[in-house]
Structure formats: structure tokens, C-alpha cells
């Protein structure tokens, strides 16, 4: 069965520190990859997506992610975090050609200290 795992459950950083959140998935075929963010009290929002093409994708708010097919990974990065980045981050995978079902990782809580 397909699965997604996020390596870090809880990350605490100071402002201006760099961020990298790991995400690995298990599926041998073509996938679409997503990172969603959930700010406190808000709904899940799309940060960025990868369908095909350039494996380095840029999203909103200065986030980017790199798809490494050989490692089945889609890690999220941001060079310099801000206090407002405090949120929960979810990696999700959708198997290409299926019904749209998203398989989520367990989420990473990011706390940025001012």
C-alpha cells in the first residue's frame, strides 16, 4: 500500500534559521506531490505542488521543495523562517491517474521562536 512518512514530528527553530522538512513516499509509479500548511485555527492550504518537469518547485511564502525520484523524496525547504511560519506542515501524495485520493504524512509541527 502507498504510504507517506515525514521524518520530523516537531521542529523548533529561531527566526532566520533555515528549514528542511523531510518527506518520503512509497509507490513505484507516477505520483503528484504536495505540501500543505495549516496555520493555527485555519484550514489546510496548498504551499506547493509537483506534477512533472523541473524537480525543484517554488511555492508561496518563499518555500520550495525538491523531488528526488531515486530517493522517493519531496523535502520542503525555506532558507530563512519567520515567526509567522509557525504551523503544521503536511506532505501528501496522489497517485497519477487515480481518483484524486491524497495520502498524507503524519504532519510536522513547526514552531518558530521570535
Amino acid at each position: 500500500a502507498q504510504s507517506v512518512s515525514q521524518h520530523n514530528h516537531h521542529v523548533i527553530l529561531s527566526e532566520a534559521a533555515s528549514l528542511e522538512l523531510g518527506c518520503n513516499y512509497s509507490y513505484g509509479g507516477t505520483v503528484n506531490l504536495f505540501w500543505y500548511v495549516q496555520y493555527p485555527g485555519q484550514h489546510l492550504q496548498l504551499l506547493l505542488k509537483y506534477f512533472s518537469g523541473d524537480p525543484l518547485v517554488k511555492g508561496i511564502k518563499g518555500f520550495e521543495a525538491e523531488f528526488i525520484k531515486s530517493k522517493f523524496s519531496f523535502n520542503l525547504r525555506k532558507p530563512s523562517v519567520q515567526w509567522s511560519d509557525t504551523a503544521e506542515y503536511f506532505c501528501a501524495v496522489n497517485v497519477a491517474g487515480n481518483t484524486g485520493k491524497l495520502i498524507f504524512g503524519q504532519g510536522t509541527t513547526l514552531q518558530v521562536k521570535p
Binding site: 492550504q45 496522489n94 491517474g97 481518483t99 484524486g100 498524507f104 503524519q106
Partner: protein
Amino acid sequence: EPEVTQTPSHQVTQMGQEVILRCVPISNHLYFYWYRQILGQKVEFLVSFYNNEISEKSEIFDDQFSVERPDGSNFTLKIRSTKLEDSAMYFCASSEEAYQPQHFGDGTRLSIL
């Protein structure tokens, strides 16, 4: 920006009772989904719905669950006889196409007593 709206935001129900969770997807979207997140666990897929029928459902989505699009705007999730383990946050989502990013509602927190 158009949003997916869910009502109610919090539902408290006695075990064994029926509950209906409501969602209004984005108007030009064609694919609709329900997910749930039990406290401290992953967001789990329940069901996808397209062209007025279920296109995929998970093992969680047993005979106690049903979905319906009763009119052109609402998309509902019904749990016929709730159990304690149905307590969770339920998210509705919609997308234009199956592979396109899904837009999520704020969720309904369902508490079964």
C-alpha cells in the same frame, strides 16, 4: 478566493445517533472528498466522489458511512450509527480535476459521547 465551507464547526452527538456533516465545495469543482483526522493521527482519506457517484472509498468507509450531493451545491457525509471511535476532525475538500490540488474546508470536529 473561493472557499470550501463546512458546517457545523463542532458537532456533539450521543453514540448510536446519526450525524450529517455538510460541505459546500467550490462551485466549479467536479471532484469532492472527505477526510478525517483522529486526534494525534494522520489525515486519512475516506471517500472521493465524482459525477454523482463514489469513485473510491477507503476501508474506513464502511456501511455506516454514506455521501450524497443532494443538490447542486451541497456535499454531505452521513454516519448512520456513530461510535466512540468516529470522534475526529472531518475535512471536506474539492478540486477541479482529480490530479489538481484540493481545496479544504475548515473541518467539523465531531465528538461522540
